[in-house]
């Protein structure tokens, strides 16, 4: 296909710790097309954020990309040096983070921080970028005259996330990665921020990776959903297909665990807990918690295979 924007192939990321080598990502492969909105969903520690940081090449020691390719518009990001990466970061791929308040530099005015991004991409001085900064702030419904001169400590969480969004989108990147953009915010603010993101991204036609553990948010926002478990991809399908026809036992478990209004039955969780990634289970990483586990699951790692049209699953039940 020609409109492939990002292709991640066999990505392995490890973290060297005192306890041993944490296998944070194990052989992760997926493809994202232009103008798609892909949600990456999983529990805490399943490798969602590591995946996004790896795409930005922001994995810092003790973390390390040990294998794989991240092909963005034909260039393998894994092989690029820092200088070339810095022409992509912020300009082609930008990112917003979970904690908006701590993600802004406390000693710099908001206007300066947004201007920094714009000035780099447009190759103008930060001062000259202030006109664009105002436009960027207006786009996220903030009062530019007031906000440019504020310091991050003077912003609320919602305002700070708006500032982060304006910073990330001010350069009109081809790909935007949003790493749990709303988990640190109040529910009402969450909805506002997601609506704002939706509106802006529709207008500017950016491709988006949304990382979240909130299936509801992902269902509303994303075209496709990728489910991760313990550093592996277990299922990848269009949103509607995934919700209507989940294949992997883990996905089924997740969907069952969503509380619904009016449902008096007790919420069913997935028994057991997330494995220790220093010493992950052999074979399928989900097998110790899987109600359908077979002998082969303990021995052989399942590969991500196309089960039906655009529906990929990694499970021995389907072969």
């Amino acid at each position: 296909m020609n409109d492939v924007l990002l292709e991640v192939k066999n990505l392995r990321v490890v973290f060297h710790t005192y306890r041993g080598i944490v296998q944070a990502l194990d052989d992760v492969s997926f493809t994202i097309h232009r103008n798609e909105r892909v949600g990456i969903i999983g529990e805490t520690g399943c490798g969602k954020s590591v995946t996004s940081l790896a795409i930005m090449r922001l994995i810092e020691p003790p973390g390390e990309i040990v294998n794989g390719e991240i092909i963005f518009e034909g260039k393998d990001l894994v092989k690029l040096n820092e200088n070339s990466l810095n022409t992509i970061r912020g300009k082609e791929i930008s990112m917003i983070f979970q904690e908006p308040l701590s993600s802004l530099n406390p000693v710099m005015k908001v206007g300066f921080q947004i201007g920094e991004s714009i000035s780099k991409v447009k190759n103008i001085s930060i001062k000259a970028s202030q006109k664009f900064v105002r436009d960027a702030l207006k786009a996220v419904d903030l009062d530019p005259e007031r906000v440019v001169n504020l310091y991050p400590s003077e912003l609320s969480g919602g305002m700070a996330q708006r500032v982060m969004i304006s910073m990330a989108l001010s350069t009109n990147p081809k790909l935007m990665i949003a790493d749990e953009p709303t988990s640190a915010l109040d529910v009402t603010i969450q909805a506002q921020i997601m609506n704002l993101l939706d509106e802006l991204v529709s207008k500017m036609k950016n491709t988006v990776i949304l990382i979240t553990h909130d299936l509801g948010v992902a269902a509303q926002f994303c075209d496709k959903i990728l489910i991760m478990y313990a550093g592996t991809i277990v299922e990848f399908a269009e949103t509607k297909e995934l919700f209507e026809n989940p294949l992997h036992p883990y996905t089924k478990g997740l969907l069952k665990a969503i509380p619904k209004v009016g449902n008096k039955n007790k919420i069913v969780g997935i028994p057991g807990s997330v494995p220790d990634l220093v010493n992950p289970p052999r074979g399928c990483r989900f097998h110790p918690r899987c109600p359908f586990a077979m002998e082969i699951c303990k021995i052989e790692k399942p590969t991500l295979k196309t089960e039906s049209q655009d529906h990929l699953v990694s499970c021995h039940l389907y072969r």
Partner: protein
């Protein structure tokens, strides 16, 4: 503006501290069982002379009255007359202090530059050879006593190599500049006396290096720790994600945040240099305030001891006040 209120509040607090310092020093000086008159006149002076001397110095009055008198004097900028030199203590301090001040300024300048850069490199190249080198280098700085480092440097650079002059502020044959601030480097610059400036600069290199090197360690260590902490913060990741170069990330985004705790240490260190330069001053034969106070102590010169101590406490408080103001400049959160 809120900053104004803050300064006034801090200044009032400082007055209180000053009063406390006067009271404590006064009490300690008068409690020690020593006889300044005896020290001044010798043990065999006739009682009539001793009494006259006591009256002259005001030592015959009750302690409380002496204290009130002293406070009254301090308020009017009068710290009494030095028993030894016979001149007003204020005048003595004004003569000796600039030497210490100049030495400390050059020393702190050296240690700030050295300390901050060592700290940054240590943090950025953590656990690489440059980090180990800078840590060993700065640990040596605190571990070696200044009088020892001073003597070694004198031995090498003055005695063996002959690159730099030995002791004193100026060479014997250099005409000192007209006295304006009392700091030879400043005065010679102001009067355009280049010979004295050059000579004075060469004289100050060794003592300032000794003093500054000792102070480098704490600054380097705090910078390193603070920088390491800042470099793991979320906003640094944001800066990297924006595609900022390593230089911009370190010097623009990280350094300003990392310097906030460093400023405190610089302030404290500078205060420490001002009062602790005595060993360096002794080794290098500089007529500074540290030596003045030590001499006053050895000679039981009450007014000089009290005046000197009070003055140092005042300077220390002023340095701390300016540290707080610099804080407010660096960190917008402090201004609220």
């Amino acid at each position: 503006m809120k900053l104004g209120n803050y300064i006034i509040k801090r200044s009032l607090l400082m007055l209180l501290v000053m009063f406390g310092v006067v009271a404590i020093v006064f009490a300690i000086v008068h409690v020690i069982p020593a006889d300044p008159v005896g020290a001044l006149l010798g043990g065999n002076a006739p009682p009539a002379v001793v009494d006259r001397m006591k009256e002259q110095l005001g030592l015959n009055k009750p302690l409380f009255i002496q204290f009130i008198d002293y406070i009254w004097g301090v308020i009017h900028g009068n710290l009494g007359n030095s028993i030894q030199s016979g001149r007003p203590v204020v005048q003595d301090i004004m003569e000796y202090f600039p030497v210490t001040l100049q030495l400390s300024i050059v020393a702190i300048f050296i240690s700030i530059i050295l300390g901050i850069f060592l700290g940054i490199f240590s943090a950025v190249y953590r656990n690489k050879w440059i980090d180990h080198f800078s840590r060993i280098f700065s640990i040596l700085g605190v571990s070696m006593p200044v009088f020892w480092t001073g003597l070694i440097l004198l031995l090498v650079f003055y005695y063996i190599l002959g690159w730099l002059p030995g002791t004193g502020q100026l060479s014997l044959f250099v005409i000192p500049p007209e006295r304006i601030t009392g700091m030879i480097l400043v005065d010679s610059l102001l009067t355009g006396n280049w010979e004295a400036f050059w000579n004075g600069l060469r004289h100050i290199i060794l003592p300032a290096a000794v003093l500054g090197y000792a102070a480098t360690a704490s600054i380097a260590r705090i910078t390193r720790a603070s920088m390491l902490d800042v470099l793991t913060q979320d906003y640094i990741r944001t800066a990297k994600a924006k595609g900022m170069s390593k230089k911009v990330v370190i010097y623009r985004h990280a350094l300003k945040n990392a310097l906030i705790p460093v400023v405190t240490i610089i302030g404290l260190t500078f205060g420490g240099l001002l009062e602790g330069a005595v060993l360096t001053e002794t080794v290098f034969g500089l007529p500074g305030l540290g030596r003045y106070i030590v001499n006053a102590l050895l000679n039981l010169d009450y007014p000089a001891i009290m005046g000197g101590t009070l003055f140092i406490a005042l300077i220390y408080s002023l340095v701390n006040l300016s540290v707080d103001l610099i804080y407010a400049m660096l960190d917008p959160r402090m201004r609220a």
